[in-house]
């Protein structure tokens, strides 16, 4: 049994009357890959933001290698140390990269902040090499790069600080199929080489099948089902998981029947969370 790198217990966050994250608990094994699937408003992104530290939880704990991340970090050194534990890669690298900063400068900035004493030039070459970018990309501004290349830069920047966990929030959703496949393969290689744990947030069940070991399914802020990915996708237990699976278009697909199933499910849940217990 591998060690646990990330342990989340009883996470809760409310916005007004909405329980965005409601009693969410899970663990991520060292070097493991855990998928979080759900639709908009299911609480998957709020959960990720709390884990990374962009949002504060009302209750619950986030333990990384056994130490709590939810308490406020005091002092620069402590904040930096915490930032090194978990790194986040967003969906849209257009918005997460500074348009006026070259790729090389962006990586150097991260390295200078976290590792002031190492040879930055060598490490930058190493990082670019690791994500499959050439030296020509190093001197480019983000707008000169394609979507796939930009996402490689975002991954390189996350890798620069040598995190224990990477949170990938719809990180391949905006990419074309052929480019998405390249980036998914890259992520699989990086995990095999570095042992970094992945928290893979996505709405695409095909992607979940491809890159995760375990999966949790979220709806209305709660976890409705969890387990090994292959098992959950092959024999879903919760009606919502079944609906999600049936909603994936395929030949012989009947959207009308799905629309009816969706309405039926939202009726039963609104009547008192009977299916969520």
């Amino acid at each position: 049994m591998p060690d646990t790198v990330l342990e989340v217990t009883g996470l809760r966050r409310t916005f007004g009357t909405v329980r965005a994250v409601d009693d969410v608990s899970f663990t991520l094994a060292e070097g493991g890959s855990l998928g979080i699937v759900g639709e908009s408003g299911s609480g998957k992104t709020s959960t990720a933001r709390i884990i990374v530290g962009l949002e504060r939880a009302d209750a619950g704990q986030v333990l990384l290698h056994g130490s709590d991340r939810t308490a406020r970090a005091r002092g620069k050194a402590r904040r930096l140390a915490r930032a090194r534990q978990i790194q986040l890669v967003f969906q849209d690298p257009y918005l997460s990269l500074d348009p006026r900063t070259t790729v090389e400068a962006a990586l150097r900035e991260a390295l200078r902040l976290h590792f002031p004493d190492i040879d930055h030039a060598r490490r930058i070459t190493e990082l670019l090499d690791q994500v499959g970018l050439g030296t020509r990309a190093a001197s480019a501004l983000p707008r000169r790069l394609s979507g796939g290349q930009r996402q490689r830069v975002a991954i390189a920047r996350a890798l620069a600080v040598e995190p224990a966990v990477m949170v990938l929030d719809e990180a391949v959703a905006a990419l074309d199929v052929s480019v998405q496949a390249q980036v998914l393969n890259l992520l699989a290689d990086i995990r095999a080489q570095t042992g970094i744990g992945y928290l893979f947030i996505t709405h695409d069940l095909g992607v979940v099948r491809c890159v995760t070991d375990d999966v949790i399914v979220m709806r209305h802020g709660r976890i409705v089902e969890s387990g090994p990915t292959a098992e959950v996708l092959a024999t879903p237990q919760h009606p919502y998981t079944r609906l999600l699976l049936d909603s994936v278009p395929r030949p012989g697909w009947d959207p009308r029947q799905l629309a009816a199933a969706r309405r039926a499910l939202s009726l039963t849940t609104n009547r008192g969370n009977s299916t969520d217990s």
Partner: protein, 326 residues
């Protein structure tokens, strides 16, 4: 019988580019038919759809013909063009929030086009709008709401209702479900299907999602670098692809049924517009490519015994053998 949409040898050039953005596109839709146009970003699929409404980028030069119910769109005068856009052809865009004025009520938005062209009186337009809102699963109270008060799925239904206001013969849907959740996607697709049947509208469904294209359409066109590389019935195109690009796209798609692990990624990138293309546009990324492919652009030819299934590839027959090996 006149086709609802008939695009013949459409070429579109933009200033400061070395090759045409659309290069000899042939595409047709019969009355009541659903046709999917699939491809990746930059392949020209959205541009093809927009050309049907003559929504062209600045400085664009076109050649060829785009006929809607026998009328050449590229040759219409401004008044005829306006009638086309408000009546016979309607478009649904990917992001409903970008296509609606947030300050105006939904009712104003729905009735605007028919009121402006004088096609309907205001009470008639409002009655029709209320009817269509019911048809898309909303109710007439939505007429008084502002876009900000509706969810993405509801707003996309409003867009569908708006598209049907002028009784179009052709509906252009440009990634209409890409911004929606999978379960809302199913609802919106079901809805478009029902309405299309009821009003016998032809549908051009532009998408990058091969699974969705296979699930909903009668026929499919696959586009790469401004050219149609393969077309055929949805039922056989994805099971027996005859163009290496279609085959590669299918292999690169993460699937529920497939085991986890590495995907068959397509190496390289699509050609950019700064370089002229000689030969087949996919040749540099194609594992079947030979000398011939780099010098001579392949003409579309049909599969044996299937005249409606065309692929522009010199090696379609080798493809079949390799699929049998795999």
């Amino acid at each position: 019988m006149t086709r609802t949409l008939d695009i013949r040898n459409l070429c579109l050039r933009l200033p400061d580019t070395a090759r045409p953005v659309l290069d000899g596109v042939d595409l047709h839709i019969a009355a009541g038919e659903t046709v999917a146009l699939v491809g990746e970003s930059g392949s020209g699929k959205s541009l093809t759809a927009r050309t049907v409404l003559r929504l062209l980028p600045k400085g664009a030069e076109t050649e060829g013909a785009v006929e809607v119910a026998g009328e050449n769109v590229l040759a219409l005068d401004p008044q005829q063009l306006r009638a086309l856009r408000t009546g016979r052809v309607a478009m649904i865009f990917q992001d409903p929030r970008a296509a609606i004025n947030p300050l105006r009520r939904v009712g104003d938005f729905l009735t605007e086009s028919v009121r402006l062209t004088g096609a309907m009186s205001e009470p008639d337009a409002t009655r029709r709008a209320a009817e269509l809102l019911t048809a898309v699963g909303l109710d007439a109270s939505v007429l008084r709401r502002h876009p900000g008060q509706l969810s993405g799925g509801m707003l996309q239904r409003v867009m569908i209702a708006a598209a049907l206001m002028g009784d179009p013969v052709l509906l252009l849907a440009d990634e209409p479900t890409t911004a929606l959740d999978v379960t809302s996607q199913a609802e919106v697709v079901a809805l478009i299907g029902e309405l299309k049947e009821r009003f016998d509208t032809g549908l051009l469904f532009v998408t990058h999602d091969l699974g969705l294209a296979a699930a909903i359409s009668d026929r499919v066109y696959v586009m790469y670098a401004g050219r149609i590389v393969e077309t055929g019935p949805a039922a056989t195109l994805f099971t027996d692809p005859r163009h290496p690009y279609t085959l590669a796209l299918l292999a690169a798609t993460p699937r529920l049924a497939a085991p986890g692990g590495r995907l068959a990624a397509i190496d390289g990138q699509p050609p950019d517009l700064r370089h002229e293309l000689t030969g087949c546009s996919f040749a540099p990324r194609c594992r079947f490519a030979t000398q011939l492919c780099t010098t001579q652009a392949p003409e579309p030819h049909s599969a044996p015994g299937a005249p409606g299934h065309l692929a522009a590839c010199h090696h379609s027959d080798r493809l079949e053998e390799s699929a049998a090996d795999a």
